[in-house]
């Protein structure tokens, strides 16, 4: 409810970091020889960014809310990928059919299974591994790293050490072609999924009571408890949701690479850490922008100077930190 009448002062959204994305994209334009290549690279960068956002968003929210850095987050990514792989390989015929609807009908249960398993494991993980060490950062780091090691080994026990091939569903292969410009169909899908996830998170955080609790809890969880809310339950829910999102990200990433291996979660963790540091620990919006920036930079530099591609994102992180030491959208903490 709002008092009628007067013009009310409303806060402005800090738009400067948003501008970074077009800035980086346009800065790359003169460096890349042809426009079609630039478009392809930009699409690739955005798609990759979206997938990293999906994987990283849970981690940054968990840290912002619970002050817990889950170094085992990569395990949920990997598990999501493996579970989806098992489902997709079992549903081989609808996956290989040339109809988009059949494909999606096959992917949907794979995604749901991946998210459900990853989320359930997240619940168990929070209870068994994380809860006993709330507030003790040193032990948290050690224990979650331990969890990562054990999880990776268990994946090897269940699925074996071989790399599993996971071809894309038939209707998602190939590219949309417009003249000289070719954009992979899968990348377009990734962008849509990423936007959908971001929109969903945004709506939940800004329009629902739970979202209100989470935003308040990120700032001052003690005060939220003093208002009568059992914020511990919200913690657990966010942890599980974050793990489920990691699982979803894992599925998308696995289909993108068309292979699944036991270290894939760990491999992408460095990028995820860079993204959440750039974005500001605890900020979903920052994570979104950070992920897109990292995706774009990785693809542009990967094309222009492949040798320093991996290192370029670390340099990006250093530059952002020099500008804003707490990340793009620092969360106001108590």
């Amino acid at each position: 409810m709002s008092p009628a009448g007067q013009a009310l002062p409303v806060a402005r959204l800090d738009k400067v970091p948003l501008a970074l994305i077009p800035v980086v994209a346009l800065a790359a334009l003169p460096l890349i020889p042809s426009l079609p290549t630039w478009i392809t690279l930009t699409a690739a960068g955005l798609a990759m960014g979206m997938m990293i956002f999906i994987m990283a968003s849970g981690l940054t929210l968990v840290f912002g809310l619970m002050d817990v850095m889950n170094f085992a987050h990569g395990a949920f990514i990997t598990i999501g990928a493996y579970v989806a792989t098992s489902v997709l390989l079992a549903l081989a015929s609808p996956v290989q059919a040339d109809s988009l609807w059949l494909n999606l009908a096959a992917i949907a249960p794979a995604i749901l299974a991946a998210m459900a398993v990853a989320g359930a494991l997240g619940l168990a993980f929070e209870r068994v591994i994380v809860r006993p060490v709330y507030g003790q950062h040193l032990k948290q780091i050690l224990i979650t790293m331990g969890g990562l090691i054990v999880a990776e080994q268990l994946i090897l026990v269940i699925w074996g050490p071989d790399i599993i091939a996971l071809p894309k569903p038939a209707a998602l292969r190939g590219s949309f072609v417009l003249g000289d410009i070719a954009v992979e169909k899968y990348r377009v899908l990734a962008v849509f999924v990423g936007l959908a996830v971001f929109a969903a998170m945004f709506l939940v955080l800004s329009r629902t009571r739970v979202g209100l609790l989470i935003r308040a809890g990120v700032e001052d969880s003690e005060m939220v408890e003093s208002l009568g809310y059992r914020i511990r339950r919200v913690f657990v829910g966010v942890f599980a949701a974050g793990s489920a999102l990691a699982g979803l990200g894992g599925v998308m990433w696995a289909l993108y690479q068309e292979t699944v291996n036991s270290a894939m979660g760990m491999q992408v963790m460095i990028l995820i850490f860079i993204v959440i540091i750039i974005g500001g620990l605890g900020s979903v919006g920052g994570c979104f922008i950070g992920a897109l920036l990292v995706g774009l930079v990785a693809n542009y530099v990967g094309f222009l100077a492949p040798k320093i591609a991996l290192g370029s994102n670390i340099l990006l992180m250093v530059l952002v930190l020099l500008w804003r030491p707490q990340g793009l959208y620092p969360v106001a903490k108590r």
């Binding site: 050690l142 331990g146 026990v157 992180m317």
Partner: protein
């Protein structure tokens, strides 16, 4: 004995027995465990004891979690490797390489210390992870300088080469050649540096570190500038890690990203220091030795178990030799929860 151990006794009969066993085993390894493989395991144990002890200084005594420790290990190893490969296998070039590596480590560690020890634990851990990855990428990309993914192989001064015979006749059934000399160089250097680290943690400086680890805020209030102390601790730990790298490079006559810089080694160090016992120094001795033995011999045992369990669902996969890290990981988690002082702590409690 008091000055040798800087007053830091094992304080447990069981622990003393274990330590003496390890010491004896390593001191007489060429004679007691003849064969290339066992000597290699012994040398690796010496190197990792030093490396893990240096990490214990950081984690156990100062309370800093850093994922960049393998970077300093690698700097030491590459220092020797690059010097020996590019400047020729002379004592002079080895000395130059060592000094360059140590100087580089000192500078880098002080830089990292000053810049990022002001931030919170978790942030620091993540930053060191990024820095270590960056360094590993650098090492594998600058192949002209570092030999890239394949690393560098090189010769050493004649005294240290396996081909060099020192005595005509074998001593106690073992041929005394350059390899033995190398081994004892590694052994004595590692032992000396370990005792030096023991001295550091038992000095007034070491006590201040422990005070800071317990309560940073209070230590500052009493007047110790905690960032300065932690930077120095970071530096000392880095130097010791580089020294371990130097010894490793001398032993292997090879240095590459996978033997020194990989995240797997960082995780191994974490496992060793926690299972052995954080904040005890002796934990490094026990943890490193256990790990190295397990890495090389446990797998044979596990293979037997795995073959025996064939037919039972899942069990063969669980005890498959490649899954030894699973069990170590579980042990690691239990150690963090229940046995913060690891094996050493448990032995001490028994008395």
């Amino acid at each position: 004995m008091r000055t040798l151990l800087s007053g830091d006794y094992p304080r447990s009969r069981a622990l003393t027995a274990v330590l003496l066993l390890i010491l004896a085993g390593l001191a007489f390894a060429p004679f007691v465990f003849p064969g290339t493989r066992s000597l290699d395991v012994a040398a690796k144990a010496c190197v990792f004891i030093l490396l893990v002890a240096s990490y214990d200084l950081l984690l156990g005594y100062t309370g800093i979690v850093s994922f960049a420790h393998t970077m300093f290990f690698g700097i030491g190893a590459y220092g020797i490797a690059i010097a020996a490969a590019r400047l020729g296998p002379t004592w002079g070039s080895l000395a130059l390489g060592s000094l360059a590596a140590l100087a580089c480590s000192a500078l880098l560690s002080l830089l990292i210390g000053m810049l990022s020890l002001r931030v919170k634990t978790i942030f620091f851990a993540m930053i060191t992870l990024a820095v270590a990855s960056f360094f590993a990428i650098l090492a594998s990309q600058l192949s002209g300088f570092t030999g890239g993914e394949d690393g560098l192989t090189y010769k050493l001064p004649e005294l240290l080469l396996p081909g060099t015979k020192l005595l005509q006749a074998p001593l106690f059934g073992v041929e005394i050649n350059g390899k033995i000399v190398s081994y004892y160089l590694v052994f004595f250097a590692a032992a000396a540096l370990f005792l030096a680290l023991l001295r550091v943690v038992n000095s007034p400086f070491g006590r201040v570190l422990q005070a800071i680890r317990e309560n940073d805020f209070r230590a500052e209030a009493i007047g110790y500038r905690s960032v300065a102390y932690r930077s120095v601790a970071n530096c000392v730990a880095a130097l010791a890690a580089s020294a371990a790298g130097i010894l490793y490079a001398v032993w292997l006559r090879y240095a590459g990203p996978d033997t020194t810089l990989s995240l797997d080694i960082m995780i191994d160090i974490l496992l060793m220091v926690v299972i052995g016992g954080m904040g005890t120094m002796y934990g490094a001795v026990v943890g490193a030795t256990l790990f190295v033995i397990a890495q090389n011999y446990l797998q044979d045992l596990m293979k037997l178990a795995s073959d025996a369990a064939a037919g039972i669902p899942l069990l063969p996969a669980l005890v498959h030799p490649d899954r030894w890290l699973l069990w170590l990981g579980i042990l690691f988690i239990l150690s963090v929860y229940r046995f913060p002082s690891g094996i050493v702590g448990s032995l001490r409690m028994r008395r």
